[in-house]
């Protein structure tokens, strides 16, 4: 019993990170019914941006959040405003293809600039742990991931519930035509929504970089994690993102604990399959 506490604790903390990884994808699906296949690669773009900033300024990677988040907003605004908006309302496939194309371009662009080497954002706290009991440690990086995840989702929740822009985005996702009649420029709103989704991806990229190693082609791996989280929690639901993140991460780490590290991914997907079989719309999902 004692020895499962550690993987469960790590899983819960890691779940916070998984939630931030997924929240941008989930939000954009909820708003424009867009499955952004480039989400993982845009996230890794955030990791590399942070790497460049940290090594050129010489600050701790955590400070690069101040630069990465605004840059990612404009990346998202551009991607939606100039690429994806053009194919909206033309069926399911065109936006999917554009996003897929973007994913390939980004991966190869990163490969070209940064070479395929493994990178990570090392900080002083990377190896720090907090000793709770003799056999239970909290890795500080995981704790930061969790807190950042919680903060991102709370901010996003407040934004969507209370502000003009947030409510306008929800209104546009309910009924685009009626939203236009309220004076909302829906295309512009979608671009801003993507900008905000990419701000969360930028934060996720930074956290991923401080927690794991990353390569130009690790994007799809995080896209898959995001999909897993969203399928478990329910598409378009913020609460679902958080709970889905916990479930997926705890399942992965318990699997690794009992069956060996090779089974980490598999045990996550087994839980995913179980949820799909019992509750295909996800725990908090409506669609």
């Amino acid at each position: 019993m004692q020895d499962i506490l550690q993987p469960v604790l790590n899983g819960i903390l890691l779940g916070g990170l998984y939630a931030v990884i997924a929240i941008g994808l989930s939000t954009m699906f909820g708003i424009v019914r867009l499955v952004n296949l480039a989400h993982g690669d845009l996230l890794i773009l955030g990791s590399f941006l942070s790497l460049v900033l940290a090594s050129s300024v010489g600050l701790s990677p955590y400070w690069t959040i101040l630069g990465v988040v605004p840059v990612m907003y404009f990346v998202g605004f551009f991607v939606q405003g100039f690429l994806l908006n053009r194919v909206l309302g033309k069926g399911m496939e065109p936006p999917l293809l554009v996003a897929f194309g973007l994913s390939i371009i980004l991966q190869n662009l990163l490969l070209l600039i940064f070479t395929p080497d493994a990178r990570s954002l090392m900080t002083r706290i990377t190896l720090m742990t907090i000793q709770v009991t003799k056999s239970l440690n909290i890795p500080v990086v995981y704790l930061l991931d969790f807190l950042a995840g919680l903060a991102v989702i709370l901010c996003l929740y407040y934004f969507f519930q209370k502000t003009y822009l947030g409510r306008a985005i929800r209104a546009a996702s309910d009924d685009e035509g009626a939203a236009q009649l309220m004076g909302i420029n829906t295309k512009n709103i979608y671009a801003k929504a993507m900008g905000i989704a990419m701000m969360t991806a930028g934060i996720a990229g930074l956290l991923v970089g401080t927690t794991f190693t990353f390569y130009p082609h690790t994007g799809p791996q995080y896209l898959i994690i995001a999909f897993g989280v969203i399928v478990i929690g329910g598409f378009g639901s913020m609460k679902g993102c958080f709970v889905g993140g916990f479930i997926l991460a705890v399942a992965q780490l318990l699997g690794a604990h009992f069956l060996g590290p090779g089974y980490q991914l598999l045990s996550g997907y087994v839980v995913l399959l179980v949820v799909l079989a019992l509750r295909p719309q996800g725990i908090f999902g409506t669609v």
């Binding site: 003009y164 929800r170 209104a171 009924d175 035509g177 009626a178 236009q180 009649l181 309220m182 909302i184």
Partner: protein, 238 residues
């Protein structure tokens, strides 16, 4: 003020692909009036309103609001100028609360700072919306949703509201209540264009009426001088 032209539509043609929905339609709405547009299903009434608010683009002709061309402008710009549409089928935002629906109604930069003040007058006009402000709007009855749609359209402080089939599917007693509120709104100086299939009620409420048949204006005039015979003939095209 009495004879300022608020809305002037001249020679309007509107196509949906190969289908022509409006043929050389011209109407004039004076500021402060209630103007009724009547016609059977498919006569082009909704097309006329949607084109005025910018949801559809005309293939020919012009639309002027207080002297400025507004045809072909996107809806969000038309709203900012003071033309608000209460769309057919109400189209309230189902996953937003009543309050949030009204909140979004004041999205235009001009009306935002006055939001709470306008909200007060709308709660006065439709007290039921105040009672239900924290409810999701898809839990409202049809009549309440219609009131919400009208209230939401008023949140942008429009000078002209276009009402598309506001009595559709509602009980007569509810319709009477809504028309009473419309009269109040009009007395506050807001020009109203009413599109209805319900001839009697909308003629009674209007200062001037147009009857559309198959995308063309077939009869116009003051309702008081129109005979029942004329109206029927124009409406059914017999």
């Amino acid at each position: 003020m009495a004879d300022t032209v608020a809305l002037k539509v001249s020679g309007l043609d509107v196509h949906y692909k190969d289908f022509q929905a409006l043929w050389d339609v011209s109407i004039e709405v004076n500021a402060g009036q209630v103007v009724s547009i009547i016609g059977a299903n498919g006569a082009g009434k909704s097309t006329l309103l949607n084109t005025t608010s910018g949801l559809s683009t005309p293939t020919k002709g012009t639309i002027e609001f207080l002297g400025d061309r507004i045809d072909g402008q996107p809806p969000h710009e038309t709203v900012a100028r003071g033309v608000s549409l209460v769309p057919e089928g109400r189209r309230v935002f189902p996953r937003l609360t009543v309050y949030e629906n009204l909140f979004i109604g004041s999205y235009t930069p001009k009306s935002r700072p006055k939001r709470e003040q306008i909200l007060g007058t709308i709660y006065e006009l439709f007290p039921v919306l105040k009672e239900r402000r924290n409810q999701m709007s898809d839990t409202l009855s049809g009549g309440e949703q219609q009131m919400l749609a009208i209230g939401r359209a008023l949140m942008s402080e429009p000078k002209l509201i276009l009402c598309d089939e506001i009595s559709l599917g509602l009980a007569p007693v509810i319709i009477a209540g809504i028309y009473k509120r419309l009269r109040q709104i009009n007395e506050d100086g807001i020009t109203i264009v009413l599109v209805e299939q319900d001839i009697t009620r909308s003629l009674k409420a209007a200062n001037y009426a147009y009857i559309l048949l198959e995308g063309k204006v077939v009869l116009e005039g003051e309702p008081s001088v129109m005979t029942e015979e004329q109206v029927k003939k124009a409406y059914f095209g017999i």
